[in-house]
């Protein structure tokens, strides 16, 4: 069985947001409201001239013990093949329990106003058709086509590495098992499938 995961290499992320632009258009997300499924944090530490700067891409961690899934009263938040956590936009009733439960702040509300604006911005075939809580789905539709997630495919820093954590030959599995890539705040106990090289 596949267990999809992503490794983010902070050492090579250039903070360019190509990933954000790709994701936005892959999923018709509401950039006009400042909401994205993935974003990049710019972390600056120290005082001139001893100052360091890092870019940390963020997205849903696709936790194996996902509190968002367990609190969801409708089953809209659920696992699909490969351990991907998704939200079914038709089923979601917008109670936001998952947003409170998620310790990684990975979710946002795709509201009714966004839905009507999306039709204008993205055209009549827009994929987002009803208000819901939205988040990253590892581009599972692209995976079915044999493509990588949109953010991974476009990244000019090659900072996003995607694959099957159960396949020991995959780069993600190797980076994780070697300890080079580690989860963000593992103490939260949700068992993220997104890891970071710092």
């Amino acid at each position: 069985m596949k267990r999809y995961g992503m490794v983010l290499n902070v050492k090579t992320c250039l903070g360019c947001q190509a990933c954000v632009a790709a994701c936005t258009q892959q999923h018709d997300t509401p950039f006009w409201s400042g909401n994205y499924r993935t974003h990049v944090e710019n972390v600056v530490i120290g005082e001139f001239p001893d100052v360091s700067r890092e870019f940390v891409p963020r997205l849903c961690m696709h936790c194996e013990d996902a509190p968002c899934v367990s609190v969801c009263p409708t089953g809209a938040s659920h696992y699909i093949e490969g351990g991907i956590v998704v939200v079914d936009q038709e089923t979601c009733m917008g109670c936001k329990a998952c947003m409170l439960a998620c310790p990684y702040d990975a979710r946002y509300v795709y509201d009714a106003g966004d839905i009507s604006r999306a039709r204008i911005v993205y055209g009549p075939d827009v994929q987002q058709t009803s208000a819901h809580v939205d988040k990253c789905d590892f581009c599972y539709e692209r995976l079915e086509e044999g493509l990588e997630p949109a953010c991974v495919a476009t990244c000019p820093g090659e900072a996003r590495i995607f694959g099957d954590l159960n396949d020991q030959a995959s780069r993600v599995a190797q980076l994780v098992s070697s300890g080079e890539a580690v989860p963000l705040a593992p103490e939260l106990g949700t068992k993220p499938k997104v890891f970071y090289i710092r």
Partner: protein, 910 residues
């Protein structure tokens, strides 16, 4: 109804493997490739959100014969970007579907003022007729017209625009990216390597360097030119990265060593590097002796000892001291690449230093390298440390490591604040790269694939006894091409029936004759344009001014400096007609009388291009991936219409410039145009036929490959370098064919205009005209630096809702004025405070929002360029600060580049 994912083409996956096939495999792969089912839901194209020209695949939704783009992906078949795209490239379709697109010809509403966005829709016929009538009524002469060509034109349509101007008797072209971009920086490199526009002629081999030194210039990696950023990112673990930048850029963030150098003093740093490298022998002596002009002999006056061909005025021999024979020997003249072979065919060991007191032809001589060594003798690390605010130990270490690590790479440069010393800085950078032997070799500066072929073709022509003067100008590689174009046309009154040179040349000559500062190499600048409108430029005793101005995707108010002067120039009642060819409203075309709607790159039919920034050789085709709005035309068809209306032999001239069959091309284009079709499409067909013939493949097959993959690679980089590396196997495109540590081009400027340090043929220190080189700043005074954000290119973000939203994700880091918190405290400036910035050199003022950050030197303020547009129709209107409003140009004297960084600002809290 199909879901979007069903549109994803299977060939997006298979395409990648085809790219690696060479010419041999090309024939073998024929059946499998051609028989593959073509799923028409993803079309190749070339990104035009910046000048990198990445390969893209446009996913479309196709119905009722209309194609609409739904997502842009990287084209895996493109060897440059290798399937990846930057945020601008990803967001390209937002440009096509902007509600503010101009989709009909527009004519200014009678009674409205230029600058107001008040237009009425018109038919093409009406718009063309309006232009003709205005120019006739006002009796505007061809020499009173000018064409301002924007960066897209610079990147893709140089031959066509020059052909349009020349055939229309228009001696004025303003390449808006020229002074701020190509010549204002690259010209320094050109004087060493012979290049012209290094960001499509050189793709530094970031992926194979072991030491990488970047001096300012953040566009290549920090602001993401996709293929460049990708190659470096993949190599970050293995290469040592050293970044000189007054602010902690996206690249500096990943550096092993960040050196926050004082703005404007980079040249002192590189001079001290040269001092160290030459003094300690940190260079590749074999390469330098064989392939640069370092061993050439100079006389006591510092003039090269050489023979000149009386007919062509080109050097026919240079002299080197052969260490083996202990005597001076003749080595090849123009277009030779190897000093180890004498003119008589004998083997030479060219000495980099001659015995003391050596006399030749009765003169005391020494080598170029010896003269260079004397020049840099006083530029010690201690000297530089006092200027740059970088320790002498650090300078020594960088010089040592750069000079002794192989391969070592220095960033050629792309985008930076300009100083009087910027060209000399880039010249010194090219010298550094030449000294370590890193030219057209792995890990160094590698010329674009096509570039080698141009050189090989030209040499073959010359070896067969061809006359360089008759060789098609656009096929000459490198700096000699524009030099030839200037000398033949724009600086030559005799080339035109009206006997007027370009107004920039007239202005510059007038300056020199009045003993004022002129410009040695006015290559498509706007010099004299603004002065002319004030009656200050004369030609043959009569005032010379422009009365008709065509802006072809150009936005001089924002993309050149001196925004207020441009506004006045465009609004001037003496300006009879302003025409814009454009896609979207901007700050400049608001001043147009007529706007002709061009197409977005996704929709446009184009001519055949080469592979651009790639190391490979091949061709690319751009055909419409999506359906263009009805009322629009590809701009080359617009030029074609204008030319036809005036009976001008446009396509014939294009063909002559490109070395095509003029009669055949003119006929093809004209018949297509007359029958209401696209002249461009017809000429592209001609090019495909010619390419198929040259490569020995069938036209149908070539077309299928182009339509499916967007490009065909004919030569991979390795075999190409093995055959044609310059200077290892072919000369570089300098006058001597060698990498010129002594520049024959700038030596020519001395002959014409006398000596200035800016065109010292060796090297010279040019102090910035700021307190950086001595003196101190007032309490509220700062050095000024600017750069490019990854989401921005020229003003592309301002009319793109997604890119503008992404800009806001970084807030005032992108849109504000960077001030170090320690300095801000002193001035009681808080985060988010509104500030006034006053340029102390020009008095220009502009407002901005304080962004307090440790990422910038305490004595420097920094901002991103190209935000702060004004036109209210643009999504970016009023957001950020307009650089062009803070900077009145003040041209330097080599190419007339605006000194866009050479000033201090005073900050005032509002």
């Amino acid at each position: 109804m199909l879901t979007r994912r069903e549109f994803i083409e299977a060939s997006a996956v298979t395409g990648a493997s085809l790219a690696v096939l060479g010419p041999l495999e090309f024939a073998l792969a024929k059946t499998s490739a051609d028989d593959a089912t073509q799923s028409d839901t993803s079309y190749p194209n070339i990104c035009t959100m910046c000048a990198s020209g990445c390969g893209i695949k446009v996913q479309v939704d196709e119905r009722g014969g209309l194609r609409r783009a739904v997502k842009i992906d990287g084209n895996g078949a493109d060897p440059f970007n290798q399937g990846r795209l930057c945020p601008r490239g990803q967001s390209g379709l937002r440009l096509a579907y902007s509600p503010e697109r101009i989709t009909r010809p527009l004519i200014r509403v009678a009674g409205s003022k230029r600058g107001e966005w008040r237009f009425r829709a018109a038919s093409w016929e009406e718009a063309y007729a309006y232009i003709e009538r205005r120019e006739r009524e006002l009796d505007i002469q061809p020499y009173e017209k000018a064409i301002a060509a924007g960066w897209v034109i610079c990147a893709y349509y140089r031959p066509e625009v020059v052909a349009f101007a020349v055939s229309s008797e228009i001696p004025n072209i303003y390449g808006t990216p020229m002074q701020p971009c190509v010549t204002g920086e690259h010209f320094g490199i050109d004087t060493v390597t012979g290049n012209f526009n290094i960001h499509d002629e050189v793709q530094a081999d970031y992926g194979n360097a072991r030491y990488f030194l970047a001096i300012g210039s953040n566009a290549s990696v920090a602001a993401i030119s996709t293929g460049r950023a990708l190659d470096l990112a993949r190599n970050l673990e293995k290469t040592k990265v050293v970044v000189l930048d007054p602010r902690l850029s996206e690249l500096a963030a990943h550096a092993d060593t960040w050196i926050p150098i004082k703005p404007g003093t980079d040249l002192a740093f590189t001079l001290a590097m040269l001092h160290e490298m030459l003094g300690h022998g940190y260079y590749d002596a074999q390469f330098v002796a064989a392939h640069t002009n370092a061993p050439f002999l100079l006389d006591e006056q510092g003039q090269p000892v050489m023979k000149t061909d009386p007919a062509s005025h080109m050097p026919s021999a240079f002299y080197v001291y052969d260490a083996t024979r202990g005597q001076v020997v003749e080595t090849g003249g123009v277009f030779h690449n190897d000093n180890t072979v004498a003119v008589d065919g004998s083997t030479v060991a060219p000495a980099l230093a001659v015995p003391q007191g050596l006399l030749f032809q009765g003169k005391r001589v020494q080598t170029v390298l010896q003269a260079l060594q004397q020049k840099v003798a006083t530029f010690t690390p201690e000297w530089a440390a006092a200027i740059t605010d970088v320790s002498a130990a650090t300078i020594r270490e960088v010089a040592h490591d750069f000079g002794t690590t192989r391969p070592a790479l220095v960033e050629p440069g792309w985008h930076d604040g300009r100083y009087r010393n910027s060209i000399m800085l880039r010249r010194s950078v090219a010298m550094l790269q030449a000294l370590v032997g890193g030219i057209d070799r792995r890990g160094g500066w590698i010329f674009a694939g096509e570039y080698h072929e141009m050189m090989a073709d030209m040499l073959a022509y010359l070896r067969k006894g061809g006359d360089l003067q008759k060789y098609p100008g656009m096929l000459v590689p490198g700096i000699m091409s524009p030099q030839g174009v200037l000398a033949t046309y724009f600086d030559n009154p005799q080339a035109w029936n009206h006997k007027h040179p370009g107004i920039s040349y007239a202005w510059s000559e007038q300056q020199f004759s009045e003993g004022k500062q002129g410009v040695a190499f006015p290559l498509f600048p706007n010099l004299g344009y603004l002065e002319g409108s004030k009656g200050q430029v004369q030609w043959q005793g009569k005032p010379y001014r422009l009365r008709s101005f065509y802006m072809y995707q150009a936005n001089p108010i924002r993309n050149a400096m001196s925004s207020t002067a441009w506004q006045e120039f465009l609004a001037d009642p003496g300006m009879g007609l302003v025409v814009a060819i454009d896609i979207m409203p901007n700050d400049s075309n608001a001043y147009a009388d007529v706007i002709l709607p061009d197409q977005v790159y996704l929709e446009r039919q184009d001519l055949l291009f080469d592979l651009g920034h790639s190391h490979q050789r091949g061709i690319r085709l751009r055909e419409p991936s999506v359906t263009p709005p009805k009322g629009t035309k590809p701009a080359l068809d617009i030029l074609s219409d204008l030319a036809a209306m005036r009976g001008v032999p446009f396509w014939q001239t294009v063909a002559e410039f490109n070395g095509w069959d003029p009669a055949a091309v003119a006929e093809t284009a004209e018949s297509a145009r007359r029958s209401g079709g696209s002249a461009v499409a017809a000429v592209a067909e001609y090019q495909i036929r010619e390419a198929a013939r040259a490569e020995g493949v069938s036209v149908a097959q070539l077309k299928r490959r182009l339509r499916r993959d967007g490009l065909v690679v004919f030569d991979q980089a390795e075999p190409l370098l093995a055959r044609w590396a310059m200077p290892d196997h072919l000369p570089v495109p300098t006058p001597s064919g060698r990498l010129e540590l002594f520049s024959l081009i700038t030596a020519g400027f001395i002959q014409e205009h006398g000596y200035r340090p800016e065109w010292d043929p060796l090297i010279a220190w040019i102090p910035p005209e700021t307190p950086a080189a001595g003196g101190h700043l007032a309490a509220d005074e700062f050095f000024f630096a600017y750069g490019k954000a990854p989401v921005q290119s020229h003003t592309a973000t301002a009319n793109n809702d997604l890119l503008m939203a992404l800009s806001h994700n970084y807030g005032d880091q992108y849109l504000g004025i960077w001030v170090n918190p320690a300095s801000a405290r002193r001035l009681r400036i808080g985060s988010g405070d509104r500030l006034e910035l006053r340029n102390t050199a020009t008095g220009d003022t502009v407002q901005g929002t304080a962004f307090l950050t440790e990422m910038v030197r305490p004595d420097t303020v920094y901002m991103m360029s190209n935000f702060g547009v004004h036109n209210r129709l643009l999504v970016g209107a009023g957001q950020g600060t307009a650089l062009s409003q803070l900077v009145t140009a003040r041209p330097e004297s080599v190419v007339g580049a605006p000194r866009s960084g050479e000033f201090t600002v005073r900050l005032r809290k509002l």
